[in-house]
Symmetry: C2
Subunit: 326 residues, 2 copies
């Protein structure tokens, strides 16, 4: 592997000059620029990231931490992150948060020793010890979760989104609407969504019924069964994640109920999963890929530490319909 000195020697200049043209600084003539560029091409030179990072105290790596690696929601955010990062010449480093906060802190310490340009936390709240583990001067932002404290985040208004989703079902004529909630301990966005559901129902003077899942596919069916036990008159189910929504649709069909004729199902997040089911899941959509892109923009534009709230939207597909007569 050629070094900057090799290039310098080949071009008959000093390493400093090579560095300057590589980095697009000023201080050389057009003629030398050409010579240096020729040398770079000839020697297939590529600056060493490590040496550069050591000197400048910054590398082009962005850390991304997601609950699971294979999570559909995180995948879409990561797609946005990867796109935006690549376009700007940054690389992304992957980590997992689902193993407890001690591990997360470990990741952040590693990311710090890599002199990462910033880190993005998906679906997890920033805690003070995370902030500390990362060191004060590398930016950190949470995505798909609204930060309660003063840390920056990019998210939708989950409470209002859940309100609007519930309201949509109410407007379809449903009166008995059950909630498939997520685990409030693992991702506290669930609590906020619950609140939106509760507010919409009480605003409409309707009774609430709620069962806890854990946001993943397998937790849907048992929670759904409990829900139906508690209120057999249910004509609609609002699942706080698409995975639970999808498994609800499948479970209902398995038990002989028709979706949406007998019972409507509404999902949340608008991940790919919502389309992998028949009938396709109506869902409350958040712009996940865009969130990822905005997150890297945020990290790389030092000035703004402002949080952003993006707009949610209702996407209606086959799994919801007006309440059946009778």
């Amino acid at each position: 592997m050629a070094t900057i000195r090799d290039v310098a020697r080949y071009a008959g200049v000093s390493p400093a000059t090579v560095s300057r043209v590589v980095n697009g600084l000023v201080g050389y003539s057009l003629a030398t620029q050409k010579r240096v560029e020729g040398a770079i091409l000839a020697l297939d030179y590529e600056p060493d990231t490590l040496a550069r990072g050591l000197k400048t105290k910054q590398t082009s790596v962005i850390g991304v931490l997601a609950p699971l690696v294979s999570d559909a929601l995180a995948s879409e955010v990561m797609t946005g992150v990867e796109n935006a990062a690549r376009q700007r010449g940054y690389s992304v480093m992957l980590g997992r948060t689902g193993l407890g906060s001690a591990h997360v802190a470990g990741y952040l310490r590693t990311l710090r020793t890599y002199r990462s340009a910033g880190v993005i936390l998906i679906s997890a709240a920033i805690t003070p010890d995370m902030r500390r583990a990362l060191g004060a001067n590398v930016p950190l932002i949470a995505v798909a979760i609204r930060d309660q404290s003063h840390f920056p985040s990019i998210a939708i208004d989950d409470e209002q989104a859940a309100y609007d989703g519930t309201r949509y079902l109410i407007d379809l004529g449903h009166r008995h609407i059950g909630l498939l909630a997520g685990d409030p301990n693992s991702v506290l966005v669930n609590t906020v969504r619950e609140l939106g559901y509760l507010r919409a129902m009480t605003d409409a003077g309707l009774p609430t019924v709620l069962e806890q899942g854990n946001s993943l596919y397998d937790s849907g069916p048992p929670a759904l069964r409990r829900l139906l036990e508690r209120d057999p008159l249910l004509t609609a189910v609002f699942a706080l994640s698409d995975e639970m929504g999808a498994s609800a649709v499948n479970e209902l069909q398995r038990s002989g109920r028709r979706v949406p004729d007998d019972i409507s199902v509404l999902g949340f997040d608008n991940t790919r999963t919502s389309q992998h089911v028949y009938p396709a899941l109506s869902t409350v959509s958040q712009p996940l890929e865009e969130m990822g892109e905005l997150a890297v923009e945020h990290l790389l534009s030092a000035g703004n530490s402002r949080s952003r709230i993006l707009l949610h939207a209702l996407v209606t597909r086959g799994s919801t319909a007006p309440v059946p007569p009778g």
Copy 2:
């Protein structure tokens, strides 16, 4: 951030000694070890990865390149990779191959400047220019694809797996079995699988009918419709990816056909997607997470450059059944 010199000063030793205890080498007394460890704790010292990498010409990063970031198959492989990497103190860096091989080469060059310990290519074949872009001394391995040339890979025997899948449908009594193929240009594993299907059908003296999709969900329905047009007597469909299988199941229901009573559907890969549909997809399973783990093991144990072929398995769920009478 404390440096090794700070620790040395605090402990009253030289930086060299600190380095030795940090790296678990020999050459210091128990007493100094204790003192150094105390200093490390007191100053919250963490060795700088960049400086270390610059000196040793190696970092603990493993590159992982997947077709799409949000791909279900890749997600599972990546889960395995991330697990194995983390356990060994390595970090994983993410890239995308779906943008053409020029981009891939770019990623590999980047990875090289990071002095990555090795890179894993998911669902894509290694080409000589990739090998070149990465530099000769960093290991590279393909996963979930059987390499045709001499590059190492970890995969199942796709031809035989497709053969076995087809054979399974034949053994259920099906005679008219259509194939939902993937794009042979994007991922050439598809070609091999096609071959397995063709061999099984001709071995059984059955007519073959095949339509091309692109492995993703949306390509399933149109390909399926073409398939049914060409052979309206179809009682089974073998999809070469779970996504196409899932969309086939959904599309069949949409068009009023019952799965598996009227028509059976068999998927491939056993990703999460295969369970997100009702009835759940029978599928040819490959041990994706294990493949990921083995891949990092391979990279880190310098000696073996041997390829490995893992066992596939048939997992039967609700989407397949014996051929309907008549």
